[in-house]
């Protein structure tokens, strides 16, 4: 910037040199013959202000419309309508979140109704519970949607670990409904669950 706005000359130290300076400042001499630099550059002033018989000085017509046009002609109703639309959208989002929370709680309540005491305690503590199915195998279901079912023990009670992915479409029901459905299907028809599931 120094090179643009400032320059060093011999004899006068640092001085301003650039088109901006030249446009704003004008050099001349006083009546007494002394050199003077003033801001009364007519090149700038005339662009910004003008005079007329009725208004001694007013902002030049070439600038005023540019400053004010945007505000003067900006339609107020669309702006207010945009704001209103945004508020409605935000309210809908908030209501949607609230409804989802209510649905989640309701689903968790339904899940709790179908767990035994041990499973309920496990769920409240770890958000997971074990399901022992008629084949003798044990599965552990965690809170989740996909890949949240683990086979932990085989029919002989030996430790094993395999993960399964089989779930409902959670756009149709909350996560806890998914967990309850996994539990019910495992207990009712393990083979069907395993047929549908993808081992992960």
């Amino acid at each position: 910037m120094t090179g643009y706005y400032l320059a060093t000359g011999t004899g006068s130290g640092t001085y301003y040199r650039n088109p901006i300076w030249d446009a704003w400042m004008v050099s001349g001499t006083t009546g007494a013959g002394f050199p003077i630099t003033t801001t009364a550059s007519t090149r700038v002033w005339d662009g910004w202000a003008t005079t007329s018989a009725y208004q001694p000085t007013y902002t030049a017509p070439s600038f005023w419309p540019q400053w004010t046009a945007a505000e003067t002609f900006r339609p107020q109703r669309p702006f207010a309508a945009d704001r209103r639309r945004w508020e409605i959208q935000q309210r809908r989002i908030a209501v949607g979140r609230l409804r989802k929370r209510v649905a989640d709680r309701q689903a968790e309540k339904l899940l709790m109704e179908h767990l035994d005491d041990e499973q309920r305690t496990d769920w409240l503590r770890n958000e997971a519970f074990d399901v022992r199915v008629p084949s003798g195998r044990t599965y552990r279901i965690r809170r989740g949607v996909a890949g949240n079912v683990y086979r932990t023990h085989d029919s002989l009670g030996r430790f094993t670990r395999r993960r399964y992915c089989c779930h409902i479409d959670t756009s149709l029901a909350p996560t806890c409904d998914n967990v309850l459905t996994q539990k019910l299907l495992l207990e009712a028809d393990e083979d069907e669950f395993l047929r549908l599931a993808n081992p992960a």
């Binding site: 649905a103 689903a107 149709l172 019910l184 207990e187 009712a188 549908l196 599931a197």
Partner: protein, 76 residues
């Protein structure tokens, strides 16, 4: 009284019917058939105190409680 709980995105909806009232049974059966036979939802017969369920494909008017869940599918 029989109770049908249908899982849904806004929480489950409850349908109650009196097994001795043919109109109520018919209405509950119609809803069951729409969901289970047409939309392939899963139906489980459970008791009112929870516990293990049994999968059913036909409406049982004498059931204490039925849970209808969206269809399941394997993920990736």
């Amino acid at each position: 009284m029989g109770e049908l709980r249908v899982m849904g995105a806004k929480g489950d909806t409850r349908v109650i019917w009196n097994p001795r009232d043919p109109d109520e049974v018919a209405a509950a059966r119609a809803q069951f058939d729409t969901l289970v036979k047409e939309k392939r939802f899963l139906a489980f017969r459970v008791n009112t105190t929870g516990g293990k369920g049994e999968q059913i494909r036909e409406f049982d008017p004498e059931a204490e409680k039925l849970i209808i869940a969206p269809p399941m599918a394997g993920g990736s």
